[in-house]
């Protein structure tokens, strides 16, 4: 039962990773009792499970995921939403209005129009049907303020950190509200633009250095430094 890689080695699709008594994890597949990589990424073995952390991937909808999407079309009884996935999502009118939808009374484009951004949860999705969204929960719905940025969907777990340590730290340091769409879209809302910019620089840094260890500490340091500078500038202008 040999393995053919070192920890965190960069592998390409088709590279043989392990043979025999191992389990195929993410971005791997089995053929004739051998485990191969299916994407470019870094390999890691967790007990008997061989995982590849992909360096480039796209978002695949999963039931229960929070995503951020753009309304692309207002339909007869709902909206079509672009969630940066291979499939476009559907949002039903009755779900948004939280009462039976009557075409003669309601003008859908006044509730949500093309170009509007929404935070939504994936209510259902399977191979045969496009994902359906829902906004019937607190915190979901139309986005009215803040800034949007996109990262590779595979990097979202790194932005969250272990048990949410990274994201809660950024929230605390910058005083911003941050919503992470699992499709790689992030919404940052703060009291002012400076706070938002600060949070965005931090997230960009995480995206770039996502494979380094001790990242949380360095981000904390970065935020503290930047915040210190920002304050001194503010003081000067006040005087």
């Amino acid at each position: 039962m040999p393995t053919f890689f070192e920890k965190k080695q960069l592998v390409t699709p088709g590279e043989l990773l392990a043979e025999g008594d191992y389990l195929p994890g993410e971005n791997t597949y089995v053929e004739a009792n051998k485990i191969y990589a299916s994407r470019i990424g870094l390999v890691d073995a967790d007990n008997k499970k061989v995982n590849v952390v992909a360096l480039k991937a796209f978002y695949v909808p999963k039931m229960g995921d929070i995503v951020i999407g753009t309304v692309v079309e207002v339909g007869f009884n709902g909206w079509t939403v672009d969630i940066k996935a291979p499939y476009t999502a559907l949002l039903r009118a009755s779900d948004v209005l939280s009462r039976p939808f009557k075409p003669q009374n309601d003008e859908l484009s006044q509730v949500l129009n093309a170009g509007d951004l929404i935070v939504a949860k994936i209510a259902s999705y399977d191979r045969a049907h496009d994902p359906q969204l829902t906004v019937g929960e607190p915190g979901l719905g139309k986005i009215t303020r803040g800034q949007i940025l996109r990262v590779t969907p595979t990097k979202i777990p790194r932005v969250i950190g272990r048990k949410g340590s990274m994201i809660s730290m950024i929230k605390q340091e910058t005083g911003c509200q941050i919503i992470l769409g699992l499709n790689g879209v992030i919404l940052v809302t703060g009291k002012n633009i400076e706070d938002e910019e600060l949070a965005i620089t931090a997230i960009r840094k995480i995206e770039q250095e996502s494979h380094t260890s001790g990242l949380t500490d360095r981000i904390t340091q970065l935020l503290k430094e930047k915040k210190g500078n920002g304050n001194t500038v503010e003081e000067k202008t006040n005087e």
Binding site: T12, P13, Y29, S38, I40, A54, K56, F58
Partner: protein, 244 residues
């Protein structure tokens, strides 16, 4: 290419462009050259210069091409009007339509088509300069572009041709050898799974010669595969270096 030279291979076994019988042309591969495509690759195989771009998986348009149970791979092989000595009409020719189909079919076994039903992956191959063996170079570049787009793959696909020139079986024919030689055998190959996904033959070979040509071509593929892997890793190496 004015007159047919008397011999394409001299007494010492050296070909017209100075190569030995089992020698590849110099290769250069680069990944991620286009920022608007999801994935892209550029290949210089001898004098061939080819760009490949991949998009997807994304929604299929037009809708009637959607397959309810699997992903659809579409390929477009196109030669630029300036890619050959005499201007080539930019409209797709019979040859280009055929090559598009052939390339599509040789890449399909490398993809997990059943994983993302109702979607489509598009691959665009643009030949900027042609000098024989463009289909093989295109396949090599297209596989890289798909891998760069983040589409899961069973293996990278590599392609290389072998053929017969005068009386010798040789590797990686270039334009003159292709046109004046006896036979040309392009082979596309998945090295880790040891599977051939494309095998064509243009010309006449004995069965022994064909067998020799296929082994020669797959050996060539293995050499190109190492460069292909290297090219793909180089793009993502930047990420890795930060780690240390």
């Amino acid at each position: 290419m004015n007159e047919k030279p008397e011999k394409l291979i001299d007494k010492k076994g050296i070909r017209l462009d100075g190569r030995k019988a089992d020698e590849l042309r110099p290769l250069k591969l680069q990944v991620g050259v286009l920022s608007n495509a999801d994935g892209s690759a550029y290949i210089e195989h001898g004098k061939n210069k080819i760009l490949a771009a991949a998009f997807g998986p994304r929604e299929m348009h037009p809708k009637h091409l959607v397959q309810a149970d699997r992903m659809v791979l579409r390929c477009r092989y196109h030669m630029a009007p300036f890619s050959v000595q005499e201007r080539k009409s930019p409209a797709p020719s019979r040859r280009e339509v055929e090559l598009s189909k052939v390339i599509k079919e040789c890449l399909e076994p490398a993809l997990f088509l059943e994983l993302y039903p109702r979607t489509g992956v598009d691959v665009f191959i643009e030949v900027l300069q042609a000098d024989g063996g463009t289909r093989c170079a295109s396949i090599t570049a297209a596989a890289l572009a798909i891998a760069d787009a983040g589409v899961p793959m069973r293996d990278l696909v590599v392609a290389c041709a072998a053929g017969k020139v005068d009386d010798t079986v040789v590797l990686d024919l270039y334009d003159a050898e292709d046109k004046l030689g006896v036979a040309d055998v392009p082979v596309a190959y998945m090295p880790n799974l040891n599977a051939i996904t494309l095998l064509q033959m243009d010309g006449i070979l004995t069965s022994a010669e064909l067998e020799k040509a296929i082994t020669m071509a797959t050996d060539g593929c293995k050499k190109i595969y190492e460069m292909q892997k290297e090219a793909l890793k180089t793009k993502y190496m930047v990420v890795k270096e930060v780690e240390e």
